[in-house]
Subunit: 293 residues, 4 copies
């Protein structure tokens, strides 16, 4: 029989992920802080719903979490009503939150002290990837725990890769976000330039998007950027959380992220003009705030 799964955090990402788990035939119990959302989930998928974390995890064999940030993780994992204190020994804990490597190690150590295994397993692929069960999962932790997790992760991912010990999953996700920051700012500047220069920006993209300037962002976001639509994915507020993690990590390593630091500040400008919930491609709107297309 399949392992009993407790799923905590049914947000934009967690909701469909938990759905895939249930659809794959795992017995699932869910918990969501805002209970209405958990009830809705239970209406749509087969599974049990609990009002407390402790109940949700008590009889689980695997706990999966997907919440917001470091603070959320400390709240749901640590403390007397949290996951660690209430889940059984020997349990496997998998966290899909994008958070710091530090908190991953902190929870990992605390889990080990209770003979529990923890994997930091942030994802990429966005809401679309979660809905389609096609996420990429970057995992940090013990190889045996990773092996154990594999079949479950397949329920909602295209690939799941073990990157090293605890924290390395988060660090890999950071590498991803840093690369994204450069691509998007470059794209924003190039599209703004194109329009200021009186070019047909869509046509320009068509012409240049096969060569050295090509990127996933160029292929998937240019058209909406040009149209001034910024509701197609990962929000600026989330991105700033992620970049703050990257920058804090780089600070500890005494290494340097000049462009990333600058783009992070540019996202503050986006927030200030009301774009906290716009998607990350709204760096173009920031330029347009000065330079009307």
């Amino acid at each position: 029989m399949k392992a009993k799964i407790a799923f905590i955090g049914l947000g934009v990402m967690g909701y469909p992920m938990a759905g895939h788990v249930a659809s794959a035939g795992y017995p699932v119990t869910v918990f969501n802080r805002t209970e209405a959302r958990a009830l809705k989930w239970r209406g749509q998928y087969s599974g049990e719903q609990f009002s407390t974390i402790s109940e949700a995890v008590k009889h689980a064999e695997v706990v999966v979490t997907c919440v917001g940030d470091d603070n959320d993780l400390r709240q749901i994992y640590l403390g007397e009503h949290g996951v660690l204190a209430n889940a059984p020994e020997g349990i496997l804990l998998i966290d899909h939150t994008t958070a710091s490597a530090e908190v991953a190690v902190e929870i990992g150590v605390a889990a080990a002290a209770r003979s529990q295994s923890f994997l930091d397993a942030p994802v990429s692929g966005g809401e679309q990837g979660a809905k389609n069960g096609a996420l990429t999962i970057m995992v940090g932790g013990e190889p045996t725990a990773f092996e154990q997790a594999q079949p479950l992760l397949q329920a909602y991912s295209r690939q799941a890769v073990l990157m090293g010990p605890q924290g390395k999953g988060q660090l890999t996700k950071m590498v991803n976000q840093i690369a994204v920051a450069g691509v998007v700012q470059g794209l924003a500047e190039s599209l703004n330039f194109a329009q200021q220069a009186g070019l047909d920006a869509d046509q320009v993209v068509e012409v240049i998007s096969k060569g050295a300037a090509q990127s996933w962002q160029m292929e998937n976001r240019s058209a909406t950027m040009i149209a001034g639509e910024y509701n197609h994915g990962f929000a600026v507020d989330w991105m700033r959380k992620d970049l703050a993690i990257c920058l804090a990590e780089a600070r500890k390593m005494k290494t340097s992220l000049p462009m990333t630091a600058l783009v992070d500040q540019f996202y503050a400008d986006v927030q200030a003009i009301g774009g906290g919930r716009w998607d990350t491609s709204s760096l173009l709107e920031r330029l347009r705030h000065f330079h009307k297309p």
Copy 2:
């Protein structure tokens, strides 16, 4: 019979391009400032070689040029020994140099005054694209001139697109270079971060290179960047020339390219450590100059 082509400038790009023209059956005359290279070309392809521009263009129906920068263009096109003064009326002039929109308009106007047609037609695709006849060509000029040029351009391109009147070819190329600058700096910071964080950078790239961080640069340059090899393409000195053109153009338009301006300065650091001839991906080496991998 096919049109008589005069090809001026047999550098890294022009040499194979002129070769493709000859191989496609056009009668070709070539001129190269450093004659040895033109003689070598004549040894490899069928065509005539001349020691002066005026002789090379006198009986041509189309003149194709591919030289270094604005100054080079002014030298070969204008002046009494130049292309305009010595090519016949009605001739079609196609320039593949990456240069300013300004010089394109300047030559275009001077050509029109002599009833000659000028197209600014910068390319992307690099040495590889030139050798394989698979360049992308971004064209500015009159539609009729563009139509006339089409069959010839097919000899060495995958696509050639008319972007608007004179100068718009150059402006499109600029959009390309701006996007590249962001992508490459983002990639350099992300790979440096990965290595500082103790990750296997090649593995990280494998994992993240299908999603939102993906780019042509990530797919085609990460491995060599990680290996510290920077001899795979477009040189930093050339890139700075191009970025200078972008920045000058933006200055005229009073629009802003903050990340591009910064990356341009970072390339100055690369030049200062001897990397003027390294390829553009050497922004990673700049970071490594401080932060040893």
Copy 3:
């Protein structure tokens, strides 16, 4: 009779500050984590020395602290062996550490709950200012507490100003550091440029240091920068701590510090070449790491 002062943290700054307090006739008890330094202090000034915070503060009327950062503050103020738990009700607490506004408010609230008054009172003026008793003190807290503190603060300051409620002292110090970051990077770039251009940099400074480019940094640091001496003040590691606080504060306010964020990254480069203990003017050395003078 003068109030009994407990002084905690006899570092570069605290040591001479506590000395001025003793010299001004206050009865002083000191505590330093590394006891040797406290013993040395007692040898030089008149005052008592204790091995624990609780003893040092038990009979004090004012507690003054000057430690490293937020974590240090939480350690010495909070917890059962800390200042708050062991100092009497009604006591005045003055902290000269450069730290976050957040920790100031946190300690302030905890102090108020015990009927104690807390002032965040970061300083500027450096080691020299501390030794000469000529610091500037930027204070956050209650006006009555500030009034009470005034005579004591005069023992080691040139000016002490109440900027608003708790946290505003720290915020004022942040404004200072942000301005410094811009001045120093500008100065570093200008001196590097001068030398690259073959100018006599000292002479240039002499000529331009009365006009629009003038700054305290230019007047007091140019000569040592040009000479490549970076041991004249506030260390890069400290500066990065301060800039991290500024950037975190700006993040919360969703306001933007683009140049500050960039300079902070440049300081990471300085750290990476071994300059963590160099003074902040070593941004010039970072440029020289690429561009030899």
Copy 4:
């Protein structure tokens, strides 16, 4: 008797400078492209006015120029109606325009070929300095020419210093502008931060303006910046011209000006919101465009 002076360019700077020359008892002939302004000058000061450069310089012993940029200099100095062709042999030529080192050398060489001496002599001190005869003059050229110029320069300057051969005056001015760029952006970020943090920005400036953050800009521009007044000096459009010269010069030297390049782009944002004629301190308004005070 005092030498006969021809003064060309009666703009914001040249007008009062030429006035000081006349007031000092030199016989002056003036030329201004827009004649009305020259006539106004002649109404206010004693001196002759001519409608062409050639007449104005024909009988002069010293020519002083103060126009806009490199192009203007080429126009007024070179060509058959220009200064060089029409001024007598042996004449001393002094240019106060802020321009490139390159054009200084170019004119210097052309002048020498006619046995004329050229000094590049850009100024700092602004309109106020020009009016008060208190400019700082940074001179490039031959020592003998400089000696000859000294008494005249004293008519409108506080100090005039020979920095080296032709071009070195301009390079020194560039050093000045680079330092200014850093100071002003740092100041703008710090004042914006102060206001976002709810501090009284004027009070903050009062407190911090004696220490490490102090600058001429802080002392002379903070109050107007806080008040949102940007009509107190050197215009953004002029500053961008100057920064373009700095950046072009650094490009030739392959040295790096990262912060300067970034601030230059920020000034493009200021231009785009209509601030081309605002003074350089309007970098604060750029931040306020996102972040309302």
